[in-house]
């Protein structure tokens, strides 16, 4: 069989060309332009300014480093907040609960909604004066729990994690459920006969057999967390003050104000962080493929 004839190489051209021109090229240009003073007033004339943008990011009093740290913090915390409840929920639904298909449909529903919509809806729900959350707390005589959810420095991150969990738990749960469904029931029966309790089963059967689902959840979760923008932009726009700024919100602000060079410098930092993590994950996946 002539492979060249049956599988023509030109089948690759369209996606590869689009990927290179509109994905890769902007990324490379981003790195190059981050060393220039590119801004809204520079008309085709860019000056090479070396590391000045980066020095500005790490030394200025504008808290850019805080934004970078916030991105990392969000990535870690938001994933913990979602993955553990999602796993518990999946285990609960797995064991033949009545109406579980309904629950699955309902729990997954928020993750299909546009972030913008979720953000707008929760801007209203978390409103201090007459938002739904404080109204419900009032009605339950839990006034002491009432908060300025989006404007109190000590509470705002928790609100963001809460909204993000509302959106994302069902998504993670669905992936866990698929993994759980593939574990043979006989394993659990055998373990029960040997006198294993819930935690033994979790540690020795469920978690090891779920490694595929856990990997997928972690990969999705990491990339989502590092690139987070919409939900924070709509809920707090980085505020109060600069409390909830992340890399992408700073980067957008700089872009909107015409500081393109600075904006791409911040993007390049994000690019570097995700590339390191991405390369590790792709390597891991290609190794797994060899093993199969």
């Amino acid at each position: 069989m002539n492979k060249k004839k049956i599988y023509p190489q030109w089948f690759l051209i369209l996606p590869l060309a689009l990927y290179i021109v509109f994905f890769l090229l902007p990324s490379i240009m981003g790195i190059l332009y981050s060393f220039t003073d590119w801004n809204v007033r520079s008309k085709g004339e860019l000056n090479f300014i070396g590391l000045k943008n980066y020095i500005e990011i790490f030394t200025s009093n504008k808290n850019y480093t805080e934004g970078i740290l916030n991105t990392l913090k969000f990535t870690v915390v938001s994933n913990i907040v979602k993955l553990i409840p999602a796993l518990l929920l999946a285990i609960m639904l797995q064991e033949g609960l009545k109406g579980r298909n309904w629950y699955r449909t309902i729990f997954y529903l928020p993750s299909v909604l546009p972030f913008l919509i979720i953000g707008l809806t929760f801007t209203s729900i978390l409103n201090y004066n007459n938002g739904l959350l404080n109204t419900v707390l009032d009605a339950l005589h839990l006034d002491f729990m009432k908060q300025k959810w989006l404007s109190d420095l000590n509470v705002v991150w928790k609100s963001i994690y809460g909204v993000d969990a509302w959106r994302g738990i069902g998504y993670c749960m669905t992936i866990f459920l698929a993994g759980l469904n593939s574990i043979p029931k006989s394993y659990y029966e055998a373990a029960s006969i040997d006198g294993a309790n819930f935690f033994h089963k979790l540690k020795y059967i469920t978690l090891p057999m779920l490694s595929g689902a856990i990997t997928i959840n972690l990969v999705f979760g990491l990339t989502y967390g590092l690139k987070v923008f919409d939900i924070i932009y709509v809920l707090t726009n980085g505020g109060p003050g600069h409390e909830t700024e992340v890399i992408t919100t700073y980067s957008y602000q700089l872009y909107a104000n015409g500081y393109y060079g600075m904006s791409t410098a911040l993007n390049t930092i994000l690019f570097a962080i995700t590339t390191v993590i991405g390369v590790c994950v792709v390597r891991y996946m290609s190794k797994q493929e060899v093993q199969q």
């Binding site: 492979k3 049956i6 599988y7 023509p8 089948f11 690759l12 369209l14 996606p15 689009l18 990927y19 509109f22 994905f23 902007p26 990324s27 981003g30 332009y33 609960m92 109406g99 629950y103 309902i106 729990f107 997954y108 529903l109 299909v112 909604l113 546009p114 913008l116 919509i117 707008l120 809806t121 929760f122 209203s124 729900i125 409103n127 007459n130 938002g131 739904l132 109204t135 509302w166 669905t174 992936i175 698929a178 993994g179 593939s182 490694s211 595929g212 990339t223 690139k227 919409d230 932009y233 709509v234 872009y255 993007n267 690019f271 995700t274 590339t275 390369v279 792709v282 996946m285 290609s286």
Partner: protein, 272 residues
């Protein structure tokens, strides 16, 4: 006895969580039918007077029809191009395992993690004369989907036996007709899944239009709603009506295509 008690507790937990999920939806829908003053109180009570006019107002004032047709155009065209192109690429990558093709595959996979640099993408589009055009938006959406589509379709392609290709060749099929008449029908499940997931992704995407479209003529529904909200923050009745209209299409697609979504998301989550 212990089992039934356990089940009751589980049911209570699930019902409680379902209420937490559904309450915001209920609040938005019910308040979208109230007058301005009543909607601002954001309560869960039924409206004293049902105001259907809110919807007509937002569709006219918020220019939602144009936003809707833009969103539909971007979502359908970008997704179809990306899926067809990526299916062809995935076919070659999984069938002709040359060093070059393997490299191309992992090279494209990197795009799953790397963030798009919108600032320079806007400059590239401008260079092609595509800034602020519908075609430019479609190209931006299509290229952003390529890593994910190539990845999922290629994973599925591996399970289609090569013998089918050989049988097709013996029957005298050329490469193009082989691909379109034998491979594409076999790929249908994953193509449907990828279509649904990417359709919803474009519909929900906020960042791409925020960076790339400054003219209201090219705004998708998302951006039209956001800008409308910026101007009408006191009119929660309108905002809620806007939210309902933007959500409806994705919720309908979700309920119809639920089966495919779950199977696509989880391919790879299951150990074989």
């Amino acid at each position: 006895m212990k089992k039934t008690l356990q089940n009751i507790i589980k049911q209570i937990v699930c019902i409680f969580l379902s209420l937490i999920v559904i309450a915001p939806f209920y609040m938005v829908v019910i308040n979208s039918f109230k007058t301005k003053g009543e909607a601002a109180r954001m309560s869960l009570r039924l409206p004293t007077e049902w105001v259907f006019d809110n919807y007509i107002q937002v569709i006219e004032k918020g220019k939602l029809l144009r936003g809707f047709s833009n969103s539909l155009l971007y979502a359908v065209v970008a997704t179809v191009i990306a899926i067809l192109g990526c299916a062809m690429a995935a076919y070659i990558i999984s069938r002709r395992k040359t060093k070059f093709n393997q490299f191309v595959y992992y090279f494209i996979l990197c795009g799953l993690f790397v963030p798009i640099n919108y600032v320079t993408l806007a400059a590239v589009l401008k260079g092609f004369g595509l800034a602020d055009t519908r075609l430019g938006m479609i190209i931006a959406f299509t290229s952003s989907m390529i890593p994910f589509c190539t990845f999922t379709i290629r994973n599925f392609m591996v399970s289609i036996p090569v013998e089918l290709d050989e049988a097709g060749v013996i029957d005298g099929a050329g490469p193009v007709s082989l691909f379109f008449s034998i491979i594409i029908p076999l790929l249908k499940p994953i193509l449907v899944t990828a279509f649904i997931l990417e359709f919803m992704a474009v519909w929900s995407d906020f960042m791409t239009p925020l960076y790339l479209s400054s003219k209201s003529a090219t705004w998708p529904m998302n951006l039209a709603v956001y800008n409308f909200f910026g101007k009408n923050q006191q009119y929660w009745n309108y905002v809620f009506a806007d939210i309902v209209l933007t959500c409806l299409p994705v919720i309908i697609v979700y309920l119809l295509g639920q089966r495919y979504i779950v199977s696509g998301m989880t391919s790879g989550a299951v150990k074989e």
